[in-house]
Symmetry: C3
Subunit: 351 residues, 3 copies
């Protein structure tokens, strides 16, 4: 982040209710209260860190309007309704300078089929490849080295970063963001075993990515055997995630990094899967299910469940088992002792 | 899948033994019996779904020749020897239109070293890079953005999708399919720890991919330290799989998504590894071994074993343990009760 | 590896103290003692394989100077101070021919912004994209299809293989090696849930990769929310690893394949994480911590700990639990038997 804002610019961006103190430093970074240095802006996001404000070395501090206390010399307090929201406003401004709106148009090094239809407001970056029959919507930005196969449709305001690859006939709706190296529409993994060999089952379906989806770097989404693999509206997917063929993911789900979902499974809306979670094929995971990191889902799950472990169990049971697991060495000793005692008792009662 | 076949075209492709009913709808999709809509073709793949045929809204249904029952109005039944095989014939036809054979030749935007030898029947797509000494066989198709390093050899009829990267001196045999973003020949992960630092051990071997292998999107196969990493004939590898240096994978294996195999391990023929399985380094996994999803193989395994869990155990033992695991809270209570009882008994017997 | 050295060239490269026997074979490969064939060079890396030297079919064998025994006919023994070091010298020579120093300069097919500053000694390979404000240091080699976003800085002697992508404002220090498909600076995975939707939290920080780092194929490192994600000096990262936003990794760490580290976690120096390890967010993992393959770290760990399992436990405890786990079926039977016995005892003592 190469940030440089004068105190006056910061004031103009966040529009504070009140000011205390002053600084001559330009803001060159953002940091947590206790990590901030001279030239940084920080913010009080939660009242529990209130006591740290006094010792912060930040040059500018965003604080709630009812904050009591005075800035150090050379420090500027900005009192705002909501420090987190004020920070978000500032970050959005920084993001805008980090990723400035590119000029519309097709870079001369891009290879675009004559039958592709690219909106005049779209930007096709250097060395992209757009095959025949592709439709690219308004204000779409293809950064560089992006590949769109035959007949791909890209909705308005999509942003595909460098090296995104979308294979033939897939459909991407509006405002989808794909991080570098994402692959959409790779063949599903389907074979029939005949004559000692695995014969490929043609994968002739496609992938539909609904609006407002974001997919992380180098993640992969397979095309359906026939029909469609679907990622629902507003779902967010992290890096290195695998989505198998014919998977249907609901709306507003969260899939953390390195999750894998096997073929033909469906996830309801608002499902949250922690990092490295695996889901077997042909399952139904209900609306609002949560699975902790590394959970392995191998059965259908009813709506609202919270599961952990492999195979995944209700989280309270799994947590209980994890506590008891550590006491297994002790348990074995206790059972040994019981057996010894019982032998003695039997002897003595028989005697 | 942008399918559009008239009923007459479908009849011509699948060659039915008998017909019942008729439809005026064009076939625009394929779907399961209970999911099909007007305009879809469906099929009875297994007798257990026979009762669903009556309620299906599909416009065309592939059925076994001995099927009894009549189509709904506007519905066409096609009686065939084997509905699944008839569907496969149709899908192969769709696949052909999805991935039409490209014209042979080198796209003008590709960068091909003068010493590379590309067969006249091969297709080198836009923006590919082919370095010196590369040999590309007959009818090979490099889709786009493919990189072939110095001295790479590619056998006849290979198909590499967009963004495949093969580093120097690796060898790919006939009919290999690589999905987008596959990396073959990245350096093996080898370091010697000396003087407080990890010094790189040069990785100067290569990778051999035998014939009829398929590798999924963004998977990676490391080059050997010296000698070779080998993927055996007919083996199929899913997305985001990691194969370490000097690994030898046998023939006709199946590696599901996100599997990782550490260096110098060898897998016999017909090994099947479920999703997210991990295999430690320097192991020997016997012919026909099966490992369920997420298994962690940390010891050699004899031919034919079926393992589950981490560390992997024979599947029957692991399944038994998983049942008992859930009863651990109960077991601890039972042992508590036994101890209490025994204390009482001891007291009373001593009394 | 396409190797071909005459015996004389081998002698010149390794500089042996003594010779025994002779061969007319050129060295065309390197292999382990028991796997070597005619035309291979092998070496005695450890005294425990001494007995295998006699039966080796290698044409050239590197041996310690005090080795006793004579070569077979047509076999050449080279006596050296340290056979492993001699082999390393030879491999470095092979590596040099595998990856020859390319000529400096910018390939005419690369797209380089006029405001980028590329050192005259650097090599920018075919079809690379370098955006505005980028700085590329001395002797840097960008192989092909590399993308450097706005303002990226690349230190001297870096080597980025095909398809590496670095997004805006990230900073790479000296001698960093990035394998094919690495993504640096993808957006961190941060959303706020408001109004039934996940709203993106702008990710406006950057990534710093310190000197002598190596990162494996298709691995991903996310940019910070604000401030920096850092990979420390000399750290080595394998393939398909995910590093979340705001993670700080210390110096000289080892992260094996498919490791995932969630946001805001910090690792001390010399941490070693086995394959497929997962680390939760906002944790502190102490200096020198070791985690075995597939460990799941969900709590802070003190310096020097060695952990296994999920959730990760001290390795001795986890190993003990893994032994006892297999005896759970037996334990349940023993407790059943105890209960039966106790009922009998109670009856008889009551009788």
């Amino acid at each position: 982040m190469h940030v440089s804002f004068s105190p006056e610019e910061i004031i103009q961006i966040v529009g504070p209710i009140g000011l205390r103190g002053s600084t001559s430093e330009r803001v060159r970074g953002i940091a947590a209260i206790n990590a901030a240095e001279t030239g940084d802006l920080t913010f009080l996001g939660s009242p529990k860190y209130k006591s740290q404000v006094g010792g912060s070395r930040a040059s500018v501090v965003l604080l709630p309007e009812d904050f009591e206390g005075d800035p150090a010399p050379g420090q500027l307090f900005l009192l705002v309704k909501n420090p987190s929201a004020a920070l978000a406003t500032l970050c959005a401004r920084i993001e805008h300078s980090l990723w400035p709106k590119p000029e519309a148009g097709i870079h001369p090094s891009a290879v675009v089929a004559p039958t592709a239809r690219v909106a005049a407001s779209a930007t096709v970056g250097p060395l992209c490849v757009i095959e025949s029959g592709v439709i690219v919507g308004e204000r779409v930005h293809l950064q560089a080295h992006v590949f769109l196969g035959r007949g791909v449709r890209v909705g308005d305001d999509c942003w595909f970063q460098a090296g995104v690859r979308i294979t033939a006939d897939c459909e991407i709706h509006e405002r989808v963001r794909l991080q570098p190296g994402v692959v959409i529409g790779s063949d599903g993994f389907g074979y029939e075993f005949t004559g000692g060999r695995h014969e490929k089952v043609p994968q002739v379906g496609c992938v539909i990515i609904e609006a407002d989806v974001e997919i992380g770097a180098n993640s992969t989404v397979d095309r359906a055997r026939f029909s469609r693999t679907v990622i629902g509206l507003g779902t967010k997917i992290d890096n290195l995630v695998q989505v198998g063929h014919n998977v249907i993911i609901g709306k507003h789900c969260i899939l953390c990094a390195q999750v894998g979902i096997a073929g033909s499974t469906s996830l309801g809306d608002y499902v949250i899967l922690g990092g490295q979670v695996g889901v077997s094929g042909h399952l139904t995971v209900g609306r609002g299910v949560k699975a902790g990191g590394r959970a392995g889902i191998v059965t259908d799950l009813e709506a609202g469940m919270f599961v952990l472990g492999m195979p995944a169990l209700p989280h309270i049971l799994e947590q209980r088992i994890n506590v008891l697991r550590k006491r297994l060495p002790d348990l074995f000793k206790r059972v040994d002792a019981l057996e010894t005692l019982l032998v003695e008792l039997k002897k003595s009662s028989a005697g």
